[in-house]
Homo-oligomer: 575 residues x 2
């Protein structure tokens, strides 16, 4: 703090002058001690001056309402909800989350550092603190084609940026424990900083070796016992409760049952859709759910505030203490934890604030680069009797690798795969670098008939993925996404039913979340009508079909990938 | 960690190769979760590889004994115990304290950065981690003459030293809250680093302003309520239990009684003499005493380990977790907490290890620089009827300022002060810069007769202080300290009874603690024999007589200082 500023604030802190703003009669949550105490909180220039008895130029009488430090989401991806980063942050901020530790993994996989810059720029002036973890695994695998390679060398330029806190979720545990040079260059670059983990169910020795490499956190714990194994090793466990992955109940139940020391826990959402944020809340929902499961509210609040701040080295956040930023949440009570008001740097966040969509660099809206696209290329020749079929199971994103006879027909003297009600065609087209790479395969159990469904969101490389029961509609769907430069589309019998354009890196809409919700509310039911089983969210399920780390079989622009065997087949009819 | 090293350690952590050293069947204290769990601990190259089930090239079967991370003394002064830094550290390390956060405030006040370098060098290769906080208040006051001025500019050279963790105890709270430029230059220099506090009983607004300036800790809390006020404001309270100040019972009783969250507490000794370390222990004594007062042992151990490590940003210390330094303490049980073995970087600290005394730079042994010394200068003229008398009270270091008629005699036509059984003479002589400054005053209640007692240890400026009942013996005592270049001396009827030489900066003996103890065991009883009351430790009491921050009256080379009035008198007979 500048000395001149300090002198002014010090006089207010000492009561020699009125503070700019005083919250009177607040039931203040002291995060460091986990206590509620009724007193006043003095604020000036966005900073908390002190607690005690104060007079202010402006006074807000809280009449015993609860005043907490702003909540911290310790790990999330902003791109996954299809809306611009600012929109999501604004919605979540209204729920009391004033700090976001984001990992722009998806943006980086499409646009490299331009994608990271996009997230930084778009969140520069939101009413919240947005910090960025440098994506560590871009590309996330060697068997896929993504848009960028993010080396330690490229990361270097970001080291001095105060909004870059460390290295993003290190998914490639094998490279870590086996000591890969490129991985350890990144780890070394962020020495002394936080390195987020991603380590579901490592065996004890592997987990020790992973932690030995300096990994600090994990948000992939799905049960209490494993979470404790990580905590004991000095990792901070970020308890996740988002749209897809919901691990809070399992972990918090264990904590409550065992009376566990909660120092090593924080909260995160990882991915949470805007409509669910509006409906249920954000980190305040995690707190509320934990309290309902029996966790004392003081402990839940510490997880959501000071413990996350400490984990990420944010000494100016997470507490109502002198020198901390005045990020504050007013709660109605400690049971429903209803958020009445939220302040960021001492300024109230207006609930009605209009969603502002900031423009982005033109090159980020030009990322779908297909080569040699033709209907003919969707043809799948039957070069054997049996094919590897990707069998999908309702309610899951894992798949089974089945070898089966599949329907076929004669076509100009060729034996080609002929989709029917049970079997459809799936294709992935490289879209970043005009390589024209494309592979086709066979899915079972998805259920689409009389058309095609396509998306430019397909983890983690985000190529174009399409499923259909005829080549014409699949071709049309891909052409439609080329036109919109990314999005979700649904084609029915030769006609585009509807398209949600996601032109920003092929991941994000820039028309506002109202448009996104309106489109999805039409397209998703329609996709089910067209046969996609109710156990799938059509587009989200589609987005995982190309992720070559999930068992048992995936498809990439290079072919059918047998995950367990680490083997790529050019054609599903290959052995 | 170098990649090559990591690869080797990772293979051991994963059990692919035997670890160098494995502690088998240990009851391991997991500091992060506060649990004891029976398992093995693997170590190599001084680093903990992991916990679980391991085989080692070397195995130590602990048979269920308790294994804890090495303890951390979060605040102490190494100079105050009169022995070389290495001696004290070795003794304390044998009690399980493997990390010391030291503030070389005394050395810096005598020798500036040379004094700090001395502490750094002397503790470079001790079997423990010694970190240094940069003394913030050198000189500690403007009304005294010390040996050096330590500005932010001079501190800058130390910023990159990994053993310098931050700014040492900031005693001058007034300069902090009023925004003094020189103080805030120092605070700014250590931005983002720990800034130790020294803030006994600040009023709420002052405490807020003090914390607002970024002060991180305090070790001066003497009661629970004030400790909590500091904790709530985000300060870490270092609970002190040393030779002089003993605050543990008051604070821990409060914690136990209120079931207080203990996250914000650590332990320190501040000053603890080597004979007491040998008798009672060091930080292990703090733990034991806290447990006896009812604190769960897990909480006490967390205070002594992970919480201190976290407070000072020492991510490689304070836990038995992969990547942490293998500083380990084997405890016999959890009640008496008897320390059986201590390891530093995986190497056992031998209990019998010979005290090694390292040489120091010659200039540090030449710091007693008196000018114009003569017996004549000790004469105190009675220039008025009444004098300000420094009244001392047994068992206390505070004094009373009394205006009294005092005994006198005619001497060559002058009326001079004539000490008797009630009133003695006290004098302070500037000893750093050959200024020849000297002042004399009158003490009551100390009790010395038939001689003089003198010391070069006198907080915080460490000038020569002497008390006696005749000028000849006082002069002789000071001459003796000039000869030894510092120390404690006792003169009886014209003869030096004995002297403990403290030639290193006039603060430290380099003859080993056995010599120090042997000398003190003769000199202290002798001083009492000569009339010094039993309620005083003769030399320690003497060392505080010149500290011009303690009420009500002190003496400095500039004169008699009335602390409450902030007024300096050339002569005690001045109004």
């Amino acid at each position: 703090m500048e000395l001149e500023k300090y002198r002014v604030l010090s006089r207010m802190a000492r009561g020699m002058e009125k503070a700019e703003l005083v919250f009177k009669n607040a039931n203040v949550f002291f995060a460091h001690t986990g206590e509620f105490i009724k007193c006043d909180v003095a604020v000036a220039q966005g900073t908390i001056l002190g607690t005690g008895s104060y007079e202010g130029e402006r006074e807000i009488d809280l009449n015993g309402k609860y005043l907490c430090p702003g909540f911290i989401d310790s790990h999330l991806h902003l791109e996954s909800t299809l809306v611009t980063p600012g929109e999501l942050v604004r919605q979540a901020a209204q729920c009391g989350t004033t700090t976001f530790i984001v990992d722009p993994h998806e943006s980086a996989n499409v646009s490299g550092t331009d994608g990271i810059d996009y997230i930084l720029e778009q969140t520069e002036s939101v009413p919240a603190n947005v910090y960025v973890m440098m994506p560590s695994c871009v590309p996330s695998t060697q068997v896929d084609d993504n848009g960028a390679l993010l080396t330690a060398g490229k990361m270097k330029a970001y080291l001095e940026n105060p909004r870059i806190l460390g290295l993003g979720e290190v998914m490639d545990a094998v490279s870590v424990v086996e000591g890969s040079i490129s991985m350890h260059e990144k780890l070394a670059l962020f020495q002394g900083k936080v390195k987020d983990g991603h380590a579901p169910f490592l065996e004890t020795g592997e987990l020790n070796a992973y932690r030995l490499a300096g990994i600090t956190t994990d948000h992939e714990c799905v049960d209490y016992d494993y979470a404790m194994e990580e905590c004991r090793r000095g990792m901070q466990v970020l308890i996740r409760e988002g749209s897809a992955a919901r691990n809070l109940e399992a972990i918090v139940k264990g904590i409550v049952e065992h009376g566990t020391d909660t120092d090593s826990f924080c909260f995160c959402t990882d991915d949470k859709h805007i409509e669910e944020i509006q409906r249920d809340g954000h980190i305040n929902y995690n707190i509320k759910k934990a309290v309902q499961l029996g966790l004392p509210v003081e402990k839940a609040l510490k997880m959501a505030t000071i413990q996350a701040a400490r984990c990420y080295g944010l000494t100016h956040l997470g507490a109502i203490a002198p020198g901390c930023q005045a990020d504050l949440v007013v709660l109605d009570d400690l049971k429903d934890l209803k958020v009445l008001e939220v302040y960021h740097k001492g300024k109230k966040i207006e609930q009605e604030e209009k969603t502002e969509i900031l423009p982005c660099a033109p090159k980020l809206k030009n990322t779908v680069h297909l080569l040699n696209l033709s209907e003919e290329r969707f043809k799948l020749l039957c070069t054997g009797d049996k094919a590897h079929v990707i069998e999908m199971m309702e309610g899951q994103i894992t798949t089974m690798d089945k070898r089966e006879e599949v329907p076929w027909e004669e076509n100009d003297g060729e034996k080609v795969f002929a989709p029917n009600a049970s079997y459809q065609k799936i294709a992935v087209l490289e879209r970043h670098k005009y390589t024209g790479k494309m592979a086709a395969g066979i899915v079972k159990g998805f259920g689409l008939q009389g058309g095609a469904i396509a998306s430019s969101v397909s983890h983690d490389s985000h190529n174009i993925i399409v499923v259909g029961d005829n080549d014409r509609d699949m071709y049309l769907a891909v052409k439609e996404l080329m036109r919109t430069q990314g999005g979700y589309t649904l084609v029915e019998n030769g006609t585009v039913y509807d398209t949600l354009a996601l032109p920003v890196m092929g991941l994000i809409s820039d028309e506002g979340y109202e448009t996104v919700q309106e489109k999805l509310s039409r397209m998703i039911p329609k996709a089910h009508e067209m046969g996609i089983k109710e156990g799938f969210d059509p587009f989200i399920t589609l987005s995982f079909m190309a992720l070559p780390v999930l068992p048992q079989v995936r498809i990439t622009p290079r072919g059918i990938y047998l995950v367990d065997e680490d083997r790529m087949l050019k054609s599903p009819f290959d052995q």
